[in-house]
């Protein structure tokens, strides 16, 4: 079915010709049918086949099917309802009701300035996008290479943000791009493949998952895998981690981009191998008897090795979402020196760091702001008060900063309660064994936190 929403109301319509179609074609067909300016939220064949690695896609302003609510298997949820796409048709600018307009505008202007004044949100993200991280995470020795075997690789930079930005510009794409109108940080990009196909945005986690994680150093092969995932409606992080597990099992060789592409293409065919890939890293590990499976609560661990970026290790282990790097992005203080500095290879301070970030993130995520505002907010004491001011002006309420912390805590508590009722225990708040047993080069680190992790949710 298609859910069509316009000012007159909502209507369920038969999916018709878009059933079974890939993301790019789905967006193109629905825009043709319902008007070029409609927004399309969709699933691809992976979601329709109820694969647990399926995400939900959104079109970008140019109509690329590349902006994903990728993680957690939400595409399979949408697929299970028989919902192929949601078409949003708003013929005129929709003015969200704001209680006190001038107060809101003043706060919003101030907030935009805070973002533009910070070097990360005002310069680094616009110039190179999120993939600016590839080199610094690699130099810091915590870039997972060859399914989390090593922490640094001399070819990582070949798929990094500097190279990608050059390719975007040289091929008529865009190195600086807003994923939706109005964003001042514009971390997105438009990557053009050698044959001219416009892929949409190449993000850091994706570049890592199909690049260094598989020992693939060709940016076009990485972007091709990204394209296939966008089209299939597959979470790129989970797909990258899963291919790493398959390479570990010997199903495809490490360092062979062509073999990885061919394996991903199996997903669209719904073949047995394709279904294993679509089911994610944990399932793939079980099917092929691999124990080096980097996943927590059934979700693949992204682009920061927890042994030498331990704050994020704490987040991976304890977040109610499973291994989610954004849920408490300790890379800030561990590697990027944003919001203070906590030595990434030591244990001190990591539990507090992860806890505070998880609380703040749950609250900021609830505002609908892009999480990347956090770089500026963590460093600028005016940041959080200005967000609170925007909320107050919008709804005519009088929240304080303490209320925001309480909001974040209450969200996490509800999520934890849900998990408990779904059968998760503290044993699930641990990293896979090999992170405790295998040393990571170059800093010769192991992950150590076990029972201590039970203190993260001590509020």
């Amino acid at each position: 079915m298609i859910l069509k929403i316009n000012p007159e109301g909502a209507e369920l319509l038969p999916a018709g010709g878009v059933a079974g179609k890939g993301g790019y074609e789905t967006v193109t067909m629905l825009k043709k049918q319902y008007g070029e300016n409609v927004g399309v939220i969709f699933i691809g064949p992976a979601g329709e086949m109820l694969m647990t690695g399926a995400g939900i896609g959104n079109n970008d302003p140019e109509g690329n099917a590349g902006r994903y609510a990728g993680r957690g298997g939400l595409g399979a949820v949408m697929g299970s309802k028989g919902l192929k796409a949601i078409v949003l048709d708003s013929p005129k600018t929709f003015d969200v009701p704001v209680k006190d307009k001038s107060r809101f505008q003043e706060a919003a202007r101030k907030f935009a300035k805070i973002l533009l004044d910070h070097p990360v949100t005002g310069q680094g993200l616009p110039a190179y996008g999120t993939n600016v991280l590839m080199n610094i995470i690699n130099e810091a020795g915590t870039l997972p290479i060859r399914n989390f075997k090593y922490g640094r690789w001399d070819k990582a930079g070949e798929v990094g943000g500097e190279v990608a930005a050059e390719l975007c510009n040289a091929r008529g794409g865009k190195a600086t791009h807003a994923c939706h109108p109005g964003c001042v940080m514009r971390c997105s990009n438009i990557y053009i493949l050698p044959d001219g196909r416009s892929m949409g945005s190449l993000e850091y986690e994706t570049a890592w998952g199909f690049g260094p994680n598989l020992e693939v150093s060709d940016p076009d092969q990485v972007a091709e895998m990204n394209y296939i995932c966008n089209d299939l409606g597959l979470d790129t992080i989970e797909a990258g981690v899963t291919l790493g597990v398959l390479a570990e099992a010997g199903v495809i060789p490490f360092g062979d981009g062509k073999a990885a592409i061919a394996a991903l293409e199996e997903v669209g065919k719904g073949s047995p191998l394709g279904r294993v890939i679509g089911a994610g890293a944990t399932t793939a590990g079980k099917v092929y008897g691999v124990t080096r499976v980097p996943a927590v609560k059934g979700q693949g661990i992204p682009a920061y090795d927890p042994r030498s970026c331990r704050g994020n290790g704490v987040t991976y282990a304890t977040s109610p979402m499973g291994a989610d790097h954004t849920a408490g992005y300790a890379v800030t203080a561990n590697i990027l020196k944003v919001g203070g500095y906590v030595d990434p290879t030591k244990d001190e301070g990591q539990l507090d760091l992860s806890r505070n970030l998880q609380i703040a993130t749950a609250a900021v995520d609830s505002t609908g702001l892009c999480l990347f505002v956090a770089f500026a907010v963590l460093d600028n004491p005016e940041g959080l008060p200005t967000i609170v001011e925007m909320l107050n002006a919008m709804y005519g309420i009088e929240l304080t900063i303490n209320d925001v912390v309480a909001l974040g805590q209450s969200i996490l508590k509800v999520e934890r309660e849900f998990n408990e009722k779904a059968g998760f225990t503290k044993e699930h708040d641990r990293l896979p064994e090999f992170f405790y047993n295998e040393e990571l080069e170059p800093h010769k680190t192991k992950f150590t936190f076990k029972e201590e992790l039970d203190e993260v949710f001590n509020f």
């Binding site: 610094i136 640094r152 943000g161």
Partner: protein, 79 residues
Amino acid sequence: MQVEVRVFCGLECYIPGATFGQPIPVEITNGFTGRKLLETLNIPEEKAFSFLVNGRHKDLAVVLSDGDRVSIFPAVGGG
């Protein structure tokens, strides 16, 4: 004595002929600090937000040793 320097994210513009990520060998003497290295390479101190020696953050007073891998970045973030 020599260190191997890598610069990224636009800092290469201060070093004639340099490309991001390419190792640049720099001769050092006894007591050669991070600050002295930036001076030698003409990189303004305020641009060198992250200064890593062998993958660890150091402040500019750090004394460099033979064979160190030095990586220099402006302020960056993503996710």
